[in-house]
Each structure stands twice: as structure tokens, then as C-alpha cells.
């Protein structure tokens, strides 16, 4: 016998096993729901279709979509072509950088990234500028995500707001008056699908932790699978400034973490000295040594008022070896620009 509850009105039903895999309409609220087998189903795509439909002749779009970049060796990457008649603005093909001290990757492509992990399946599309990530999970699995990050989900998903890991860990993230609520999404009534995206334009990156640690800029955190612990890092320990400066989170464990950026993400493998303005740091590996200082030229220019909405020209100097993910835009500049368009209190 199968025992299920309607995901919407919680009305309980007991059904014979032969109804497994079928869909039925709830007598209480009219919701169409899937009836799952009594044992937990293997990870599979839930009943709602997940792929974008091929346009029918009835409402044929007439646009010319951007061709997806093919998978090509990094050394020969060319800029992703947009529509065929690209204006003839002189461009350089991005070859593998050979500069002193760093190696890096060239342009993000428009290709959809897919993967399967021991916890979930993911698909990152609308890349690289408005990336959105789709998570597919088996029944009973959970992911933990930033508030307001959910774009859509199947009715089999159950959302719970709250504090993961008990209050102690949560207060570890309370910095500058910001509270950090972590939402738990559970595939309660069957396999589930959830789509997540950030608030601003930018990309989403996936990183697998295998018992190691990743440092993330606070605004970059999006979601993680089970078996990953995300906690605040006190600014006293390493000299990072809170408030408008860099607020770091620490992710440790064996599982999946997704982070987003404002702007494109460029991963850089640091082998020698490398300096990044703090506003552009997304994440970096624990193996790197880092130190925050003021941009060298500013010391000689004397006392300077802040240029940006709170930014002071702080840079982070990296040493050792490891990967740092940088973003190609920073929030401070956007805030400075948009400041002029804000309503004034006197109005």
C-alpha cells in the first residue's frame, strides 16, 4: 500500500501499489500530483517536463538565438559569437594568458553546464550573464539556499525557512547587523526540481568540496548540498573589514556548493604574487595566503575621501598557490552610479 499526502492541502490517501508512478487529482483541492513508489525513487527527472520546448508552429518565435559555443580546447577559445552580423569592432581572440605569475582561463562561454554529483544533478543555463541553476534531487534530499534565491520549483518540493546547524552557527554569520537565514528545500513528496538565481546579472559557478575548504565573499553564496557546512569567518582573525569591505564565509565538507557573481567569473590559478581589488573577489581556496592592504598609489596621494559608496581602494594580496575566482564587475561601482537615481528623503 502507498501512503501519500497531497503536497498542497495535506489530505492523506492510502492507495494500492499499482498506482505507483501515476498521476491523480486530489479530491480535496484539485491538485494534480504524482504517486510515488513506496521505497525512495532513484534520482530521476520529476514528472513535470524540464526542458524548454521546441517552439510549435502556433507561436513561432522569430528571434535568432545566440548559438551555443561548442566545447573547444581552452587554448583555442574564441569569443562567443552572438548573432551572425556582429559589428566589426576589432577584437583579439583570447589566448591562454601567459603573464608573469598567473595562469587563467579566457572567456566564459554560453554553453549550458551540466553535472551529476553524489547528492544531486545540476544544470547552469542562460550563461554567462544571467545564469540560473536548476537542481534535480531524489526524494528525501535537501539543499540549503540563500533567501529569495528560488525562481521556481515543482510542487513536490517543500520549503522551510530557518537556521541551519543550530543558533550558534547562525550567529557566527551575524555581521554588521545582517542576519543570515538559510532556507531548506526538501524533495518531500517525490523527486524534485528547483531553480535558483541571484538578484543581479552575473554567472553561477559550481565547486565540489572533497573534505577541503573554500572561502566565499558573503554576497557570492547561493546554495549548497548536504554534508557541506557554511559558516561566518570573524574579521578579527584575518584582518578583513566587515561592512562595506569584504565579508567572508567559509564552506567546508564533502559536497556541492554553488556561488554567484556580479559580472562574469574568471578563475585564476595563482602561482606568484597577485593583487585583486577586494570588490572583485568571489571565492578563493584555503591554500592561498592573503593580506589586505591599501592600493599602493593611494598611500602617496595623501588623505583621500572614499571614491565609492564605502570603498576605500582596498586590495587583497595573494601569495602561495591556489585558485581565486574573480568577477569582472563590483557592487560598489553599481551603487555609486545608481545613487543619483534614488529618491531623496525630502520628497
Amino acid at each position: 500500500m502507498i501512503e501519500i499526502a497531497c503536497p498542497h492541502c495535506q489530505k492523506h490517501y492510502r492507495l494500492e501499489d499499482r498506482y505507483a508512478g501515476k498521476r491523480a487529482k486530489c479530491a480535496g483541492c484539485g491538485l494534480i500530483m504524482s504517486i510515488n513508489a513506496p521505497q525512495s525513487a532513484p534520482l530521476s527527472v520529476p514528472s513535470a517536463p524540464v526542458s524548454p520546448a521546441v517552439p510549435t508552429s502556433r507561436t513561432a518565435p522569430v528571434s535568432m538565438p545566440r548559438p551555443a559555443a561548442a566545447s573547444i580546447p581552452v587554448a583555442e577559445l574564441v569569443p562567443p559569437a552572438s548573432v551572425a552580423t556582429r559589428p566589426p569592432v576589432p577584437r583579439q581572440p583570447p589566448a591562454m594568458p601567459t603573464s608573469h605569475g598567473t595562469t587563467g582561463h579566457a572567456d566564459a562561454t554560453a554553453e549550458t553546464l551540466r553535472g551529476t554529483t553524489s547528492h544531486l544533478q545540476y544544470e547552469i543555463s542562460q550563461r554567462p550573464d544571467f545564469s540560473i541553476v536548476k537542481i534535480l534531487m531524489p526524494q528525501g534530499a535537501k539543499v540549503f539556499a540563500e533567501p529569495s534565491a528560488m525562481v521556481s520549483m515543482t510542487p513536490s518540493m517543500h520549503l522551510e525557512a530557518g537556521f541551519k546547524g543550530g543558533l550558534g552557527k547562525t550567529f557566527g554569520r551575524l555581521l554588521g547587523g545582517e542576519s543570515l537565514i538559510i532556507n531548506t528545500f526538501t524533495a518531500q513528496d517525490g523527486p524534485g526540481e528547483v531553480m535558483f538565481a541571484g538578484g543581479a546579472a552575473g554567472d553561477v559557478a559550481y565547486h565540489r568540496l572533497n573534505g577541503n575548504t573554500l572561502y566565499l565573499q558573503r554576497g557570492a553564496y547561493m546554495l549548497n548540498s548536504e554534508d557541506v557546512e557554511v559558516s561566518g569567518k570573524w574579521q578579527g582573525a584575518k584582518g578583513f573589514f566587515s561592512g562595506e569591505g569584504l565579508v567572508l564565509l567559509k564552506a567546508t565538507g564533502t559536497g556541492d556548493i554553488f556561488f554567484n557573481s556580479y559580472g562574469a567569473i574568471i578563475p585564476i590559478d595563482v602561482t606568484e604574487g597577485f593583487m585583486v581589488d577586494t570588490g572583485y573577489i568571489v571565492a578563493f581556496e584555503e591554500s592561498l595566503q592573503y593580506r589586505v592592504t591599501v592600493l599602493p598609489g593611494l598611500r602617496t596621494a595623501g588623505k583621500i575621501k572614499s571614491f565609492f559608496f564605502g570603498g576605500e581602494g582596498l586590495v587583497c594580496q595573494f601569495a602561495g598557490s591556489g585558485r581565486v575566482w574573480i568577477q569582472t564587475r563590483q557592487v560598489k561601482s553599481f551603487l555609486s552610479w545608481v545613487n543619483g537615481f534614488r529618491p531623496t528623503k525630502s520628497n
Partner: protein, 227 residues
């Protein structure tokens, strides 16, 4: 100086590879990352060009504080990554003696040897003061980097062409231009949202951007916390 444009076309940054003695000037907020070894000088002056003083550069930066960074490499193959404040693209324009008129917010960086004059008022100061728009005349020899809000598309003007003023990135000074109304009636132009447009004529190249920042700002602004 070698350059490479990354993350095009909407989140573009320029990666500059420089040799000992080479120098580039950009506004302070433009630096993203660099390898160690650069000499960084932060001043309110423009280096190079004629006279050494940046003309009218104060206008280029909103607010009272304006500072430029001069980055000079001290060794071989040192890299510097720069980017603009808003989303959009970057264009490299090799100046070779001619003159390019650039919209103020579209100037990103230039090599020493390019003269920047931000006092140029050919398009009429009064018409743009409300939008905070101004123009920078760039002349000389060397690498010039421009940024756009949106994608950049060039127009080979041969006759007449009309651009909404917020959509101009840069144009060659061989072109003639006048400010006009978009539609047949002035009222219609203003109410229709287009307001004033720039009519280019003659022969020369014009660079336009697909989007304009004030339209975006005016839509987003009212939804934000008051200041």
C-alpha cells in the same frame, strides 16, 4: 602594450600585458587585479600629451573626488586587468593621429601619448547638463579603451543618421552633427520619450551603444531606498 578583451560582450574587461617602462592611465576604480611589480601613481593630473595637465578632467568624475591611476610596468610581461563600472562591452581604438570625440562615461583608459580634453563643448553644454553628459576629445597616438552600456555597434555614416543622445559612445570628428527633435513635432518628440536626438551627417565612423544608463537608472531608482 598588448591587450586582450575577456568576458565579452556584456561583462567585458581588458587584460593589458605591459613591458618595463610602458604606462597606462585610467580612473582609480577601474583596476581589478594585477601582478606585482607595477608602479602605481595616483594623481589628479594626466601624464603625457601636450602640457601634462588634464584639461577639464574634473568633469569626468561625478562628485568632488577624481583621481587617476598611472600604472607603469617595471619588468617584462606584467599584467593589469581593468574594467568599467557598469555592465557592458569594451572597445579598443588605436588612435593614429586623428581625433575621436568620446562620451564622458565611455572613456576607460588610454596610453600615455593621448591627449584628453574634457572641456570640449561642440555639442552644446546646456542640452546635456541635466543628464550629466559631457564629451571628451581624444587625440594623439596610442591605445584608447572605451566602454559602453550595452553592446557597441559601429555605423558608417554616409549621408545622415540619427542617434538618441544617450546611445552615442564615440564618433570621428570628421562628422558634422546637430541636435534636433526625433519626430515631426517637438511635443511629440518629448512625450514620445525620445526627446532630443543627434543628427550626424557627412562621412565618418560613429560608435553607438544598444542601451543607455539613464533609462535604466530612472526605472530602478524609484524602487530603491531613499537617500
Amino acid at each position: 602594450m598588448q591587450h586582450q578583451l575577456l568576458a565579452q560582450p556584456a561583462m567585458s574587461i581588458a587584460k593589458l600585458t605591459m613591458q618595463a617602462g610602458e604606462s597606462v592611465t585610467c580612473e582609480v576604480g577601474a583596476m581589478i587585479a594585477m601582478t606585482s611589480g607595477f608602479t602605481v601613481e595616483t594623481t589628479s593630473r594626466n601624464k603625457g600629451g601636450k602640457g601634462g595637465l588634464a584639461k577639464g578632467l574634473k568633469r569626468m568624475f561625478a562628485g568632488e573626488n577624481f583621481f587617476l591611476n598611472h600604472f607603469t610596468a617595471t619588468g617584462p610581461n606584467q599584467t593589469l586587468m581593468i574594467g568599467p563600472g557598469l555592465l557592458g562591452d569594451i572597445m579598443h581604438y588605436p588612435l593614429a593621429g586623428g581625433t575621436l570625440i568620446v562620451q564622458g562615461s565611455s572613456w576607460l583608459a588610454s596610453a600615455v601619448g593621448i591627449e584628453i580634453d574634457a572641456t570640449w563643448q561642440g555639442l552644446g553644454k546646456a542640452l546635456f547638463s541635466g543628464e550629466g553628459m559631457f564629451w571628451v576629445k581624444c587625440s594623439g597616438q596610442g591605445d584608447l579603451f572605451l566602454n559602453s552600456f550595452g553592446s557597441i555597434y559601429p555605423v558608417e555614416v554616409n549621408g545622415e543618421y540619427i542617434v538618441d543622445t544617450g546611445h552615442i559612445v564615440a564618433f570621428e570628428d570628421t562628422l558634422q552633427f546637430r541636435i534636433g527633435k526625433a519626430g515631426k513635432s517637438l511635443i511629440g518628440s518629448i512625450l514620445g520619450g525620445e526627446g532630443l536626438v543627434c543628427k550626424f551627417s557627412g562621412q565618418g565612423k560613429l560608435y553607438c551603444q544598444s542601451h543607455n544608463p539613464p533609462s535604466f537608472g530612472k526605472l530602478l531608482g524609484p524602487k530603491l531606498k531613499a537617500r
